[in-house]
Amino acid sequence: MELTSRNTVRLLLLPGLAVLLFAFLYPVAATLAAPPDGDPATVARETGALLTDPNLLPVIARTIRVSVLTTLICLVLGFPTAYLISRAPARWSGKLLALAIFPLMLNTVVRTYGWIVVLGGNGVLSTASQALGLGPVQLLYTETAIVLGLVQLFLPLMILSSYSSLSQQDPRLEDAARGLGAGPSRVFRQVVFPLALPGALVGCTLVFAGAVTAFTTPQLLGGSRERILSTLLYSRVNVSLDWPAASAVALVMTVLVLVVAALSGRLSKRGSTTS
């Protein structure tokens, strides 16, 4: 069906665009530029204060550190998982993939809550370490806890993105490399990984952007002791009721995500032209 009439096309697109404008573009722009009790100058001043406040800089640094670590760990654990799934016999690979994706159906509270039982003062980990004579460990409300929780949350995304690249690879390439005398680890490093890089890169972007903006997991596992930008934003809105300051945090967070998305867009474009 070729939609030839311009009016039909307009009629089909208009409702969606109108809702985007009214319920997305306008409110986000208004809130980032000038919240109800402020103006662009106030937000600019607050953003300047945020970026120079010695108490808040660590929050930005922690957000980036936690997100980078989460991305790296997801890559190291997720890519091999995707590789094994893509090379497993057909009746296994579908089931394993479904098992890896299944957590995406559960809400974040359900997925994160278990860590409280594992990492808490009387938790599984602490009990085990005491039984071994190592004394109690309290990992809850630390950066490590946040990273663990985020890795759990975003591993499925890394596995999926890597899998989509890996499953399109011709397995005969590996056979050829092996036939030419390369060992299994060399085949993995020099053939499999470079060819699947676009998928892994998409995975890294998704994980990083998700980690920067995640709220529930850092709120539950980091609490008020280990704030990152998203939990800081929430406390600015809900506890201190400081809207211009909240807008400043929102602005920094949004810019951070947009920069990463743009960077990765350029990287993958360059990758596709050179290879």
Binding site: M1, E2, L3, T8, V9, L11, L12, P15, G16, L17, V19, L20, A23, F24, L25, P27, V28, A30, L32, P36, P80, T81, Y83, L84, A88, L97, A98, L99, A100, I101, F102, P103, L104, M105, L106, N107, T108, V109, V110, R111, Y113, G114, V117, V118, N122, L148, Q152, Y163, T213, A214, F215, T216, L220, S230, A246, A250, M253, T254, V257, L258
Partner: protein, 262 residues
Amino acid sequence: MILRRPLLSLLSAIAFVIMLGPVVILLGVAFTAGSTLTFPPEGLSLRWFAAALEYRPFIDSLGTSLVVAVLSTAAALALGIPATLALQRGAVPGKAFIENLFMTPIIVPELVLGLALFQQLMVGFNITALGTLVIGHTVLLLPYTVRVVGASLALADPRLEEAARGLGAGPVRTFFSVTVPVMRPGIISATILAFITSLNNVPLSLLLTGPGVATLPVEMLNYVQSSFDPVVAAVSVVLLALSVAVALLTERLVGFNKVFGR
């Protein structure tokens, strides 16, 4: 495979333990007879399931969550399907730009969108919390419906429709007997994906609460932050069971990996 690739198998085993371990532990905690969050459980009982059923905010918020999920999924389909039809089958000036525009709600942090809707729609225009929730979730789901239905349209050859017209079918008949069947798997996938996404959302719904209005995940988060008993573990197990049921249904309808693997 495991013997040939010991390092990769180990990394992959760690990945599965991290992904699923905490959820499995939650299963154990939910059936405890004790009153603390400990694993292994201290004796078995169903008392925390009974406690969850008696806690009004959970029941009320489940109702809110379902209403929001149904309305926003329907709205996102009603807005997204026509838009994606126009983009895939019509001559749209600035097509790439408009396509990207429909994807932007995914990029902006949900917490920021929630704050914006709270300030501009709830406070600014006096829209109720429930109304703002439905509007916000619709915007959040729109990229999914546009992309998923669009993917099934892009896969189908437009010449199918031309052939139907050439054989004498009118535009309405062509639409209902060729285009709609082509879109059907995409529409089913988009519906399931959108419904689950809405039902699970926390960051967007977090600030959009009013007297007696909050979604279930937000009530669960609030409860977990103020008390340390296993009630939420019991609720989680119920949600887990429902998710397994939906996953099996999805597998029968369109294929689980096809829907959630995009």
